[in-house]
Symmetry: none
Subunit: 402 residues, 2 copies
């Protein structure tokens, strides 16, 4: 709803509190062997109880049939149409690495160490997936590159991947990629895609040339590839748009970064859900919207580990009564997308949704799973409408029209 | 669908008849004490029977989470996207008062009698809610105001509220409001918000000045406030768009007014549902679309009177078999929005929907209430699509594409 001036006009402020628990990769699919999805197979007494009192449904993250990455999946949950608000891949990568110094005006890109032959032909786009330790050492070497007028930083990510950050005046991310996305060809020169990006293209190409000099003696990682050039995304602030004081309580850097660009205050928190709950309590009085991110379900799903995903869900379930005991005006259990263990990856399937409040139109949904949520009163709907539901149930939307 | 040229192209005319019964404020919420909503608690044998043979669902009036006023709630039922077709508050007020002479080209506004102190500071926005009788006398006094080149009329509404109507050449409603919406401040001068509204602003400010002169000796109602300036809304005619001869059979002026601006013929009818049924029968042969408006459920809901809302629903239920005995090709029971008695006001919750016809995909929904309708074949859907469903089931939409 963040791009609807008509709807933002009816937002009002009050003293209510909204908790949104995002279970990353929440939705799943039935294992053909047992006929049960992860949610159906898990023992979730607290989530099931919550579902009975909740308005339930299934949320479509981006568009029917569309499998979202983490960026679009999360944007939708906070009312940003993910087909309209696009976050560059470089920015998402930079936001996802702890400690990347990335501010407005910078340009970032995803980098690979790669292998070229003597004539410069690309023969391995991932340099045999060199170890993370070795890549860190190479990044330190690249950090010695000096180019007039800009400040350059290179951050290791994992194995052959790194983030390049360039800081300076009048930079533009409107650049073609150096990564040809296939082997046995030359690496592309980076070209300006807009009039004001010519200077940035010169800088990037100079960096690539100097990097190659510094890596030339290496056996495999003797060159770099760059793609996904992007600046800091500029999004409307959800705090301002919805008249909220939102905080993000997330353990993983990418979600903290995403929350930050949506205008949320990002809380320093530990890596367990216990830590996150403590952070929630510590900030409960001074704020009114709380985004709690729970990663373990997605991780297990991505690994194709059905049992581990069940356990991740069961672990989260033990926290539900603690969340309810805070008596927020609105408590929502949502997911950014499905990650069915049998697919070992994100998927497009609609995601179970539950919203509890004093004004909930509940219909006794018997269990919090894909099957039962599909019969809830909210129906199958778009995730970008979740914030409007939250605000409405919190009494934060006045009547539209007379 | 009225703004989709592609869909309007497939509308065809035939001899079928469509009855739409709008139960104002139809949807409700469960009373925490009993666990039942108004519809669940009411004895509705005829509506329940109808639901079994109907395509049932829940309709979202405007947008997920959005609580509609009466205007947007009704526009959606007739296929007008209420986020696109906006009706000014002044126009809705004017349409809602019997006998207001309001035509295309006029400007109307909502007025309050109010109280100012000697230095012009607003001290009571509602003039102690003076009686309707006294306000009528004051309106007569204001009707003596003469301003060159325009014709002015003031109509009492209820207590301190009135409607101002200005008729003349080249008027524009693009005006700021004189009502500051708070006390202890001066009343605002009305300012033009567009180049062509300067003249209208001069006229309105002169009216305010002259009204103050006429009211100056009053103890409380010694001044007026104006807001919601609007002209006559201009909407596409639903009769033309859908190739129908639609009639509105409604007891309350506002719904008659709304029907009129949608291009429906408005039938003079009495104030009971018996009268409305008689009017339906009298006009049945010569028309093909019938909008029957039933107000009592909303009134009881707004009053927070759970029992009275049950009774209002039970009363309407006794008419269902009479409506079915007319054997319309399509009979629909719909609501413009929910008005849960426990909220004592309009709400955003999806509204029960039932459509009976020869071509209905029914699934034996056991009762006409929020819970059972959520499991109907139509699912949870947007009210602006109801007209397309009606036309389709009446055989009035031909195949789209080859």
């Amino acid at each position: 709803m963040i791009d609807s001036p008509e709807l933002l006009k009816i937002v009002t402020n009050n003293q209510t509190k909204i908790i949104m628990v995002v279970i990353d990769g929440l939705g799943g699919l039935r294992d053909p062997k047992t006929g049960k999805s992860e949610l159906e197979a898990a023992y979730l007494p607290n989530l099931d109880l919550l579902a009975q009192d909740s308005a339930c449904g299934l949320s479509i993250p981006v568009s029917v049939g569309v499998t979202p990455g983490s960026g679009p999946g999360h944007l939708a949950l906070f009312g940003y149409d993910p087909l309209k608000y696009l976050i560059g891949r470089g920015a998402l990568e930079a936001l996802g690495v702890d400690g990347v110094d990335f501010i407005d005006g910078d340009i970032v890109a995803r980098g690979n160490f790669c292998t070229v032959d003597k004539s410069g032909i690309l023969i391995d786009r991932r340099a045999k997936r060199i170890s993370s330790d070795f890549a860190s050492a190479l990044c330190e070497r690249l950090n010695t590159v000096k180019i007039d007028s800009v400040d350059i930083a290179v951050y290791p990510v994992k194995e052959h991947r790194f983030v390049l950050r360039i800081r300076g005046q009048n930079l533009s991310a409107e650049l073609s990629e150096s990564d040809p996305q296939k082997i046995d060809v030359c690496i592309n020169e980076v070209k300006p895609l807009a009039a004001n990006s010519e200077n940035t293209a010169v800088i990037v190409n100079e960096f690539v040339r100097k990097a190659h000099e510094l890596l030339a003696e290496e056996e495999t990682a003797n060159m770099i590839l760059l793609r996904g050039f992007s600046g800091m995304p500029s999004l409307p602030s959800m705090g301002e748009a919805y008249k909220l004081k939102p905080v993000a309580i997330a353990g993983y850097p990418m979600y903290r970064g995403l929350a930050s660009i949506m205008g949320m205050q990002v809380i320093n928190t530990g890596s367990t859900f216990d830590n996150q709950l403590d952070s929630l309590k510590a900030n409960y009085n001074t704020n009114d919207f709380f985004f709690l991110h729970y990663k373990a379900a997605d991780t297990a799903g991505e690994d194709g580990n059905f049992l581990e995903k069940i356990q991740a869900l069961e672990y989260l379930d033990t926290y539900i009564s603690k969340l309810r005991s805070l008596e927020p005006d609105v408590l929502m259990i949502v997911g950014d997308h499905s990650t069915p263990a049998i697919m070992a990856g994100h998927s497009w399937h609609p995601v179970p949704f539950a919203l509890e409040s004093k004004w909930t139109q509940s219909n006794g949904v018997k269990a919090f799973d894909e099957y039962h949520c599909s019969r809830g009163t909210v129906g199958t709907f778009f995730a970008k409408n979740i914030m409007a539901l939250a605000l409405a149930h919190a009494g934060r939307l006045v009547k539209f029209g007379a």
